[in-house]
Amino acid sequence: MQLYPKRFAGFATLPTAAPDIAAEELSTWLMNMVSKEEISTVTHEAATWMINFFGRFWSGQKRSRFHSTSIQHCHRNPDGLSRAAWGWHIETAVHVLRLILSGAFDQFPDLQIVIGHMGEALPFMMPRIDKILSPNIKKLNHPVADYLRENIYYTFSGFNFTQTFLNLYLQVGADRIMFSADYPYSPMAQARNFLDQLPVSPGDQHKIAHGNAECLLRL
């Protein structure tokens, strides 16, 4: 990876189920990444944020985990249904909704989360979710769709399907969509071909291919 600094970047892996350890790990990781002057403020802020966020919101998710076992047990071949065909996606979608409903994004309005698979079916359900889960009932500052448009980014992850893309594009717009392949689980060339054939303007295509990622991750 160090041999090709212009070709690779990376996300930190954190043990989110253990917020204290996750905070410590992030601090250590940041120590190696930022200049010395910034260290004390950045790491302190990051550690506090991490304990707060993962401690209060994320670990709560685990306790109220969606009924994955029932998906697994209701089918003779659980591998597909509970995993890559359906379960992984729907569980991630439920996870995102629970985060929104927990008020996490009201407390951390600048927090940005990147999810894959063209939105894990959330764009399809968005108008319905927005209609039923009204902010008054849920004691949120904004409609649920606002968080889905302002706090979440969406990547392809091998969902090289035009219909699914168009639904996401119509719901959240080009500013929230980013390119990804899901390599090596899905081939790079297939993803690149799909990107080239997107029915969008050149400007939107550039945002999706690199512009949004450059801004969000400062690449």
């Binding site: 996300f11 990804s180 392949a181 400007g203 990622a213």
Partner: protein, 93 residues
Amino acid sequence: MIMENKALEKLSQLDNHEMMRTITLEEYYATPAFLDGPGRKLNEQAKMAKHFGYGKLIEELSDIGDKRIAEMDAADIDVQVLSLTAPQCSNLT
């Protein structure tokens, strides 16, 4: 806040598809220690699934060097933002 970025504004006005930089965001790697630890099950499953098109999975996950770069070049992908593959650092006990 992020949307007001001037670089993005400029991109909106582009009128050609040429010379497009490409960054991919959900791309995985694995290390030998990971494949012996939290990724042990993945390692075993990949070996069993060799006949289903995942024969090279472990090899591909483990390479963050020349072979991956060659494949990125062939597919016209400029940058990969890498993540440790599932189950990441779950199942450590």
